[in-house]
Subunit: 258 residues, 2 copies
Amino acid sequence: MAQDMTLLWGSGSPPCWRVMIALEEKNLQGYNQKLLSFEKMEHKSQEVLDINSRGQLPSFKHGDVIVNESYAACFYLESQFKSQGNKLIPDSPAEQAPMYQRMFEGLTFYEKLSNSNPSRLFNTLELQNKGSSRSLFVYIFSFYTDAVIYYNWFVPEGERHDSALKRNKEALVTELKLWEGYLQKLGSGSHLAGPSFSLADVTVFPTVATLFRFGLSAEKYPKLGEYYALLKERPSVKASWPPHWLENPKGQDTLKDM
Amino acid sequence: MAQDMTLLWGSGSPPCWRVMIALEEKNLQGYNQKLLSFEKMEHKSQEVLDINSRGQLPSFKHGDVIVNESYAACFYLESQFKSQGNKLIPDSPAEQAPMYQRMFEGLTFYEKLSNSNPSRLFNTLELQNKGSSRSLFVYIFSFYTDAVIYYNWFVPEGERHDSALKRNKEALVTELKLWEGYLQKLGSGSHLAGPSFSLADVTVFPTVATLFRFGLSAEKYPKLGEYYALLKERPSVKASWPPHWLENPKGQDTLKDM
């Protein structure tokens, strides 16, 4: 059990989900955890700021050790609990190299998703229409990429909005084809960096799951679809599935024509 | 010697520099390397695309293994050459945790720098004035963050330009204060994650060096200045110093009032 660990998290945030999957994989159930609301600005509460001066989720503490960045927490957990639960970094160079490579390409993948998802944009515009202040709007999106903030801030007009969205979508399609190709090469039933589940899956699966939640077509991207179907049944993934996705199993279909 | 390794790189690119420092630290001198020009679009040449379908630098190959993402290459080199050269990941949990944490905060630090550096913006505008196409301009900046691209694309007007630049600068100042505080807490002569040089330094130092090249004041940020002065004398850093910085030791003073 992991009673000396505390995780502050938000539902549906891929960075939070990464850490939760890693904790499950390392058999570290039973940690203290608190689900916070981005909408209520709870990621800027004193409770978070005490651990995380950036006011972001996840915020993670193990004893006196603080590791808030999601990738950092995943590396830390694997390193500190090497022989516990599932091994998340393979031994052989031939498997390690693609694992590291896909993990860090995964940051670009996540960024392209964040930039291209109009439902997030929609949420933002809603807030603006309700007369919320600019600073509120920035805070709410601070756990996504800066680019999303820029996008909304600088492009109020309809025309620019459309062209930017189109370009962002094209960038996401290019990215999706890359990952579809990676999986194609690896063959059926493979994980992201080879036959074994690894940190590459821990960090990138939440992005893939978000894509399908927002309507990505498994017919157009069959390898990603197969990968998603395989991983969503994995115990660590099921145990950490975003609770508001369970309540509302279907997100907006904003990515269906992607 | 490292004759089974090939690095394609660009001068002054922090991601490229990270890999070069790691190679030096692991005593992997003598690798094949080729300096390419972003301005001449050489990062989109067939030579690069053969290794790196994203057309980015660094592109790195070790035998048949390809690891292009700079953080991935640093992890890979440390893992494959653990007992060679300097140890870059400390053993103790107390040192490992801040190392991972600072490494990944370093990505945010780099992003804030990229967004805030008006000299890069200036170069872009120059290109636009010379009638270069939008796609050229995007390619040249594709090794920085998307946010830079957005910034230039969506904000042609002078007024918005100024306010965005102001906001980006404020975000960078906030970031600088965080890092100044981290170093302050660690005490004099420390490295980024504690007493020892680690992957945190390998990955974040190129950002710090870029800040000072563009005029950051060591009087305003004395701890960062001390850290910069310490690290720039380190053999691995000296051996990999960007060649065009040697030719023109002083960059534009765009960050001097930061």
